[in-house]
């Protein structure tokens, strides 16, 4: 175990946000879920009370049946935000005193650094470059992510959960978001930061980052596993595979939603449903591809003369 290597990565000023993320993310998850569960229990209790059932009441803690369900932004929210602002400012000052900007030597186009890493918040996208063609990982996928984020308010029209934490009332929405955020962003960033060493090779935590490490790893296109050759056979095989994968994912999702959230399905328009399903399937395929590459050494699902997926 190379503790020094671990310490170097953890202590690098560049990586401080990610180290903080690793601590803060579980903390806020715990906080959010514990409040959400508490609120869910409160809601259940209120729902069970025939007197209160029909009245408009506060569904979050601190709770008293006679307290107003909402309070004004000014001053109640703003004064809290102001204190938060002061605390964050103090924290940033301390941070800037303790950690200097991690400047390095002047850039030398003849000698790029190894590993050459993007800013920490882009490392998830950079990590995707391992699995996809650059134009897919760098252009198509970010566009889909942005598009998906923009589409959320139009897909998710459920008014429950506004202003308070809840799990019960928005299981699918919260679950999908956490999947996308943690698996596709946080985990990718963490891999890109702590796992990918010189040559973008996979170094487990504690392994020394050796610039001269020699490794043997060969990936094959999916069709090679099935002994398919030739441009067009592979083209159609890959296309068929992707369509099948998308179809199966979509069908399973549909069955799942139908069984667990029939009301949600009913409330969605056709357009909302199609858009949601598109993004959902894309998200799943990306994860499947990542796993297929890491575990099964599959280079590409779909090989065409112009691009590969």
């Amino acid at each position: 175990m190379d503790w020094e290597q671990i310490w170097k990565l953890v202590a690098l000023p560049d990586n401080v946000p990610i180290v903080l993320l690793l601590v803060l993310l579980p903390f806020y998850l715990w906080m959010a879920f514990s409040q959400a569960f508490k609120n869910d229990r409160l809601i259940a209790r209120l729902e069970a009370d025939p007197d209160l059932r029909k009245t408009h009441h506060r569904t979050t803690f601190p709770h008293h049946p006679s307290w107003a369900p909402t309070v004004h932004v000014w001053p109640h929210l703003l004064k809290r935000e102001f204190i938060a602002m002061i605390i964050v400012t103090a924290f940033m000052i301390v941070w800037s005193i303790c950690l200097d900007a991690p400047l390095e030597e002047p850039a030398n186009p003849n000698l790029t650094m190894n590993p050459s890493k993007a800013p920490w918040y882009f490392l998830g996208l950079q990590e995707l470059l391992v699995y996809f063609d650059p134009w897919i990982a760098g252009v198509v996928l970010p566009s889909i992510i942005l598009g998906g984020l923009m589409a959320i308010p139009y897909i998710d029209t459920n008014p429950l959960g506004n202003g308070y934490y809840t799990w019960k009332q928005r299981k699918f929405a919260v679950g999908t978001f956490l999947f996308g955020f943690i698996v596709l962003w946080v985990v990718m960033v963490v891999i890109g930061t702590f796992i990918r060493g010189p040559g973008w090779l996979w170094f487990w935590p504690g392994q020394t980052w050796d610039h001269h490490r020699v490794d043997h790893e060969v990936n094959y296109d999916l069709h090679a596993y099935f002994g398919i050759e030739g441009t067009w056979p592979t083209f159609f095989f890959g296309l068929g595979f992707l369509l099948a994968l998308g179809g199966i994912t979509g069908a399973l999702t549909h069955l799942f939603l139908k069984k667990c959230y029939p009301r949600m399905l009913q409330s969605m328009s056709k357009l909302q449903y199609i858009v949601m399903m598109q993004f959902w399937v894309f998200q799943i395929i990306v994860v499947v591809k990542v796993i297929a590459r890491l575990v099964f050494h599959v280079k590409n699902f779909w090989v065409t003369p112009w691009f590969n997926v």
């Binding site: 601190p62 008293h64 006679s66 000052i93 030398n108 020394t208 610039h211």
Partner: protein, 1057 residues
């Protein structure tokens, strides 16, 4: 609103029983208070951090101002008092002081008179005039300006008006009252200005006269000051006081030098080193003791370097490296952290900074370590494998010249064919008139081309011949090993050259026995026997004497019967050469090395056959006691084993043997090593520490407390030099040929021989490391880089030749240096050995050589130091015929000779091109008088006249007069004959003249024998001569010829001396 909503929705319960909503009514006082406190604390911390933590230099400056500097100045003040008391009491001071006082007293009256005139007659008038003249001039100038511009605008009316004004100004009468004159005068513009100009000229004249009159006094004073400065640390108490008061007004700030040489990128930088290094440019020297051991406050150890590299112009970091802007910590400022590419070198490598500008300078006066490193790089043949700009340029030039020759030859051939064709057309009766005419028209141009190409070819061939002479290899020619070597010696040598000769230049290759056999077999079978004459026996006793006295030891070392190991390590140590070489070969080699190795540096000492045989006869007796070799025929069968040839050849090629040795068939082998010209700026990642990267990242340097990692350039070079194999450690190779090829040049730390010589070896390694470390792609502004021209370029070029041929083995070239040969016991004062007259038997000093000899003559002398082709006289020196030690013949190319001549001229700072001055011929009695001075001065006592048959080396060590007129610059002669000791301190040349009252040089009074030699007639003429004897002798020498030599020889024969 909120209350309204809550009222509407609240249950109709009793309002007083409902608890208050903490969100609406809870107090945030404490969180607000605490967070504001946190903000204030962090803000205060930020201020403190900015003011003190980020400016650690403030503490250092405080130490300097309040503690170190005042104490240092106090200490210096008391030292200087003691010092000056000592100096003032010394005799030399007193005599210099007396001379200075006398000189100033001598000129005092004249000076006072001049001063009087200046102060009383000139300056007061100037004072009266200067203001009115200034006013009038500027007024006039203003009107001239306005008039000009009015004219330019075409406004003639205005112009006329201004010209009128101008006239008024010029006509205006100004009343002036000069001191000492009763009536005031009234002058117009022209009168005032002309008088003012006259007075100013007068003032200049008077001041000039005063300076001229006082020059002798000033010089005496300067000598006195110089003496005081040299003797004491020469600290002026007044200077210390001003430094002290400077401390009172010290400002705590960043002290920086801003260098801007242009506007382009990399032409501007800032160095803040002096923010902490406050004493570095101190006008008084501050040693470590003065500043109480605080290294950061000492003054620069080489202030004379700062004179040529003024920090205001060069800054600090261009030479020293480090991050000139950095101030936050010592590591950062010195650039000793991962991301700064130009760290401050450690002390032993500090001269690395010189290389970037002085990369092609073979010698730098101040850089001892660097010179040593470069010398090792040069002498041990590192450049045989590693190309390095400036080393061995002849090989490349030769290649391009040979290509040029080939293309010229081809062009000639083509043109010849064309000429032939045209001739044929012209002569063919079948040709039409037009064809013939065309052929006639074209032929002259073609012939012209042919002629030009032929001229070009001659030039190229000449250059090639010169380059062939210049091209050297470090090692011997291996094409004659069968003739030269004893076969049994070869394999043990190849296995470990240092075992045979600990100080050999040959590095140790890590060959196993099989490989050594193969290499030996290849060399043996690849060699061609050398053509030798059958050498007769020699006399080893005489040989030994010759070896000691002829100058062999300027390059070689050997253990002699009489003395311990003596000589120089420029060439091989000969103490065991008898185990290695055959007598016949040695005899022939010593007589003419070029015959056997065209690339040998060893010169031809012009020894006679017999002398060469004698030396060889002694050398073959030089063997180590108890050295044994298995020389049976059976043990040596491998040498002729054809099966080994291929493997041997592969090894020889792989190991780059041809980089240092001439080997048949491998003349065109390329170099095998990596180019080192810019190795120091190679990215660290490209220096492969192999499996030891991690270990070296954590390896403390025992020499430097603050160097916790050896994973840097210094660590790589140093450790590789110590043990070339080091980065192979722990790696697995498919074949032996994948391993590091670099041989070891010193015993490795785990080998015998390291421990005993550790200090010397480590010093060598430091020196080479310094050289390589400094070999970088210079990042400093181009305007600051050194691009020598004129004398400086001559010096740079010359040093290469001087070092290449080891001129400094025999001759003193820099004042004060001691050539190794001068250190021999036979050349010590009072020593005598086989006709060598001790001190006077040494090869001459060449300090001042440039101003001494005629350049044309010098060049000829370098081509043939015997100055004759006469086979008899050839085995001797051309100038110092009496010296036992021999100036050898070097086969220098014309270019090298001219470089040497220019080098010595540049050393003597001679900027003008030289042409022989015309010297007035001797007239009337002058010849007789000159001869009388010559005889009376007893010149021929030490100097040979030329044409002598027997020479006594004990007395006639001085230069022969034979080449006198052509050799010596007449401009130099007078200084030499009158004050020889000031030209070459400690010379054996006596001063035969003294100055008389009129400042003329006259020959010193002679004793009776000398008078007797002259005879009364000549004595009378001598006494009657009114001129300067030294001048006369100079003119006499300038016209010296064989007749004069003959005259004096005859005269000497008559007088019996």
């Amino acid at each position: 609103m909120a209350t309204e909503t809550s009222k509407k929705n609240s249950a109709p319960a009793d309002a007083s029983s409902v608890p208050k909503d903490p969100i609406e009514h809870g107090s945030l006082l404490w969180p607000a208070f605490l967070s504001v406190v946190a903000l204030l604390i962090s803000g205060a911390w930020a201020l403190y951090d900015e003011g003190f933590v980020r400016r650690p230099y403030k503490r250092i400056q405080k130490d300097w101002v309040h503690e170190i500097a005042p104490k240092a100045y106090d200490g210096l003040r008391s030292n200087s008092a003691k010092d000056s008391a000592r100096v003032l009491a010394s005799d030399e001071y007193k005599s210099l002081k007396a001379a200075a006082d006398a000189a100033s007293a001598a000129v005092a009256p004249t000076k006072a008179a001049l001063q009087d005139e200046l102060v009383n007659a000139v300056l007061p008038r100037i004072k009266v005039l200067s203001e009115p003249v200034k006013v009038a001039k500027s007024e006039a100038a203003a009107f001239v300006y306005r008039a000009e511009h009015a004219g330019a605008d075409g406004d003639t009316e205005k112009q006329r008006r201004y010209l009128n004004e101008l006239k008024k100004v010029k006509d205006r009468q100004v009343t002036l009252r000069f001191p000492g004159e009763e009536k005031p005068v009234s002058w117009n513009y022209d009168q005032m200005t002309s008088e003012f100009t006259r007075l100013k000229q007068l003032q200049g004249d008077l001041q000039g006269q005063m300076a001229a009159v006082g020059r002798a006094a000033d010089e005496a004073k300067a000598r006195l000051d110089e003496f005081v400065k040299r003797q004491s640390r020469a600290i002026d108490p007044a200077a210390l006081d001003s430094l002290d008061s400077g401390l009172d007004s010290f400002i705590y700030e960043v002290k920086q030098i801003h260098v801007k040489t242009g506007t382009g990128p990399g032409e501007e930088f800032v160095d803040r080193c002096e923010t902490c290094h406050l004493g570095v440019r101190s006008p008084v020297e501050l040693t470590l003791a003065d500043v109480q051991g605080r290294k950061e406050f000492t003054s620069h150890p080489h202030p004379e370097l700062l004179k040529t590299h003024d920090p205001e112009r060069f800054g600090c970091s261009p030479c020293h490296g480090g991050n000139g802007i950095g101030l936050t910590s010592i590591e950062k400022a010195h650039g000793r952290y991962k991301h700064w590419l130009w760290p401050l070198p450690y002390k032993e490598n500090i001269e690395a900074g010189c290389v970037q500008c002085h990369q092609t300078d073979q010698f730098l006066t101040q850089a001892t370590t660097l010179n040593q490193g470069r010398e090792i790089f040069f002498e041990r043949g590192c450049w045989g494998c590693h190309p390095y700009k400036g080393f061995n340029p002849e090989a490349d030039e030769l290649k391009s010249m040979q290509q040029a020759l080939a293309s010229t030859v081809e062009r000639m051939a083509r043109t010849e064919i064309e000429v032939g064709r045209l001739t044929e057309v012209a002569e063919n009766s079948d040709s039409s008139p037009e064809q013939v005419e065309a052929a006639y028209a074209k032929t002259p141009a073609e012939r012209q081309k042919l002629h030009l190409a032929a001229t070009e070819r001659v030039e190229i061939e000449k250059a090639i011949a010169g380059l062939k002479l210049e091209t050297k290899k470090v090692g011997p020619n291996l094409n004659e090993v069968t003739t030269k070597l004893k076969p049994e010696w070869l394999v043990p040598w190849l296995l470990d050259p240092r075992a045979f000769r600990p100080d050999t230049k040959m590095p140790r290759f890590r060959l196993d026995n099989e490989q050594a056999l193969a290499v030996a077999a290849y060399l043996w079978q690849n060699a061609k026997p050398a053509a030798l004459r059958d050498a007769e026996e020699g006399d080893p006793e005489n040989g030994q004497k010759l070896l000691i006295t002829r100058g062999c030891l300027a390059c070689h070392q050997v253990e002699t019967d009489e003395f311990e190991l003596i000589g120089n390590d420029f060439a091989a140590n000969l103490s065991r050469v008898g185990e290695k070489a055959t007598f016949d070969y040695l005899a022939s080699w010593i007589q003419n090395p070029k015959l056997h190795n065209s690339m040998a540096t060893m010169p031809n000492l012009r020894l006679s056959d017999q002398d060469a045989r004698d030396i060889a006869a002694w050398l073959v007796t030089k063997k180590a006691e108890g050295a044994t070799y298995s020389s049976s025929e059976q043990a040596l069968t491998f040498l002729t084993n054809k099966a080994l040839f291929g493997e041997g050849e592969r090894l020889v090629k792989h190991l780059g043997c041809a980089g240092c040795h001439q080997i048949n068939g491998l003349e065109a082998e390329g170099v095998i090593g990596v180019e080192l010209t810019q190795e120091g700026s190679k990215p660290l990642e490209r220096l492969d520490f192999g499996t030891q990267t991690h270990a070296f990242k954590h390896m403390q340097d025992p020499r430097h407390e603050d160097r916790h990692s050896q994973y840097d350039h210094k660590g790589f070079f140093e450790n590789k030099l110590r043990n070339p194999e080091i980065w192979d450690k722990g790696r697995m190779f498919a074949s032996w040929f994948d391993r590091t090829r670099m041989p070891s040049f010193w015993p490795r730390p785990d080998e015998p021989g390291y421990a005993e010589n550790k200090a010397a070896i480590e010093q060598d390694i430091d020196a080479v490391t310094t050289f390589i470390l400094g070999s970088v792609d210079a990042a400093i502004p181009p305007a600051l880089q050194f691009a020598p021209q004129g004398l400086q370029k001559d010096l740079r070029d010359g040093w290469w030749v001087v070092k290449k041929y080891n001129c400094q083995g025999c001759h003193q070239i820099l004042p004060g240096e001691t050539p190794p040969l001068w250190n021999l016991p036979i050349y010590q004062d009072g020593a005598g050995f086989e006709g060598v007259p001790g001190l006077n038997g040494r090869p001459p000093t060449l300090v001042g050589q440039g101003s001494r000899v005629d350049p044309d003559w010098f060049s000829n002398f370098l081509a043939n130091p015997a100055l004759t082709d006469d086979p008899e006289a050839f085995h001797g020196n051309g100038v110092r015929k009496g010296l036992m030690v021999r100036m050898p013949t070097y086969d220098l190319s014309e270019r090298e000779r001219s470089k040497l001549v220019r080098f010595f001229a540049a050393m003597a700072k001679l900027t003008d091109s030289y042409s022989r001055p015309l010297v007035a011929k001797l007239k009337g009695d002058e010849l007789d008088v000159a001869r009388a001075v010559f005889t009376g001065g007893d010149c021929s006592n030490c100097h040979l006249l030329g044409g002598e048959v027997a020479i006594n080396p004990e007395t006639t060590y001085a230069p022969s007069f034979e080449p006198l007129a052509a050799r010596i610059r007449p401009t130099w002669t007078k200084k030499w004959i009158t004050e020889p000791n000031s030209v070459i301190p400690g010379t054996a040349m006596p001063a035969i003249f003294e100055k008389n009252a009129a400042g003329q040089w006259k020959i010193k009074p002679m004793n009776e024998t000398a008078k007797g030699r002259l005879g009364p007639d000549l004595l009378a003429k001598l006494a009657a001569y009114e001129g300067d004897h030294a001048d006369l002798l100079v003119r006499y020498f300038a016209a010296w010829d064989e007749d004069e030599a003959a005259f004096h020889r005859m005269k000497r024969a008559e007088t019996g001396k």
